[in-house]
Amino acid sequence: MKITRSMVLVSSDPLSLQRGSLEIYRRFQEKLESYQLAEEVALSTITDVGNTEASPVVVIYPEAVIYGPVQPENVDRLVSEHLYKGHIVEEMLVPKRHLPSRMAWLQSRKGSLPAQQRILLARVGKIDPENIEDYILHDGYQALAKALSKMTPQQVIEEISKSGLQGRGGAGFPTGRKWSFVASAPGNKRYVICNADESEPGTFKDRVLLESDPHAILEAMIIAGYAIHAQEGYIYIRGEYELSQKRFLKAIEQAHEYGFLGKNILGSNFDFEVHLHSGAGAYVCGEETALIESIEGKRGEPRSRPPYPTTHGLWGQPTLVNNVETLANVPPILLHGAEWYRRFGTPSSPGTKVFTILGNVNATGVIEAPMGITLREVINIYAQGMKNGAAFKLAQTGGSSGSLIPASLQDTPLDFDSPRKAGVSLGSGALLICDDNTCVVDLVKVLLRFFRFESCGKCTPCRIGTQRCYETIRAITEGGGQLSDLDGLLRLAEQMERLSNCGLGQTAAVPIRDMLKHFRTEVEAHIRLGICPTGICRMVPEDETAELIENQMV
């Protein structure tokens, strides 16, 4: 069992294919095998290179160098010199003037792979999460000490603003700005809330942080409290995360004992307390106003906004609500400075992102990578390729409400900016990777069943919309779909997006739209031909009552 240390991408756009790139690919397979490098070097193709004079090109990571035009007989030299001995073959590099601008971003990632850049997960797997001494030994509470003794609350906010940190819950709002809104809002009490109601299917980055490094989140909450002049903080951890709750409670207890919580913290006259509030099973409580309602002992139904929690939050007071991962960025930024932080990621989305990889790939779990990594890199380097050598069909980013990314878009960099341009959202960082045995209609049916079940029922577009969408898609999987249904779905999707009260209803339509945008042929096959191309959907009506019971609606 070896870890992938390099990746080779052979261009396979029409022009390259015409010029013999398949032969190049085959030679690489052969040579890697004979040099016994097959396990360490991932081999894949790249389609989205743009037209280049120098095609076919070969891209090799982690050096991020581009060779071209490559002839099949050059492969031996590339393998023996570059991959085996580690020398870059200068004279075969593509001259700069021949590189299309689309390839330029490839070079920005130079040297960053495959070693992961660990800022947030720096201590994860290195310390005992239930031992505060381990945390202190690994720079723990140093950022708090620095903030309390050397910085004013205003300076803390400025540093966070300068770092360019964006909220990691999915929306990507600038964190520094949020902090200054709350700090300047009028009110006699302020609150810090850490949103750890991580219910987005496929997302578990917060659980990893809470279970593996709870003190880091606690430290960040105390710093946030200092910055916005709050004396009290809540962490709302979903009820299903028992181990996270247990470890966080222990962290609170130890922090009291050591004097990081309570009165006059580190002799600075600053007092702070943190309460753990357990969720009780409701996806919608991840929405910040629903979460606040839930803490206040009500049903988790989102409030109408404005006013926003920054001015009218918990108990009507100015409240800062930040995601676990967002907060995890705070101590390293304060400790090493905003400038240091900006060295990671892209200029518009600085820092790193924790991704969770799941689905039909060889390695599933959590990774931390710089913003701007591509899906292809994730699949081939971190996830060690598709399981059983199957073909990659689509990925869903950001949990249930995320975009469906077809194979043709897998070279889009994942950051807060570029996905928006390409029409895909980064969301919470979950990457559900599906092979060609996945039926997209069946997948969307499962997603809609989830939304229908989790809709809180407060507003009509979401309550009825998710139900109607689910019924329509279910009919398609049972052989009862009509072509006019597809227009109906798009209309519903637009209404849900524009009229729903909160993010749940607004984003529930995203997978539907993406399905019709990228996989329309497959959907139409269900309707026109009455078959499911992957053989997943049974194409016969299923028992309605069984379905109802299955969703515990009776």
Binding site: M1, G125, D128, I136, V208, L266, G365
Partner: protein
């Protein structure tokens, strides 16, 4: 009165902890670290931990420190166990069932030979 009341206290506590750990490391030549987060437990890490502790008990081994940590490596590799001998770089093992754990204890911890087919080479 809490233990730490100023940034200076924090520095002192850190220094003391460091000294304590150095002594600990000298006393226990071998460290075994088991990943213990929810996926690891779901994959059977508790049983693995149990097998390791039982082996130490049965063989009456001394100077072994067994520790737990949170997430370590990929979920699909779990249960994961790390073995550190004489503060050298750790050897990480994947898919460590209780049977594999006993083998690692016998062959690597006692015998000094890495169990190659379960080792992950970073």
């Amino acid at each position: 009165m809490p233990l730490i009341n100023s940034p200076q206290d924090l520095r002192r506590v850190r220094e003391e902890t460091l000294q304590k750990r150095l002594l600990q490391n000298q006393a226990s030549r071998i460290q075994i670290i088991v990943s213990m987060d929810t996926p690891a437990i779901a994959a059977g890490a508790r049983e693995t931990m149990q097998a390791i502790l039982e082996f130490i008990e049965e063989e009456k081994l001394n100077h072994i420190l067994v520790k737990k940590t949170g997430n370590l490596g990929f979920d699909s590799w779990k249960p994961i166990v790390q073995v550190v001998i004489n503060s050298q770089s750790p050897v990480t093992y994947r898919k460590v069932s209780p049977t594999v754990a006993r083998r690692i204890m016998e062959e690597h911890v006692v015998g000094g030979k890495v169990v190659q087919e379960h080792a992950i080479h970073f």
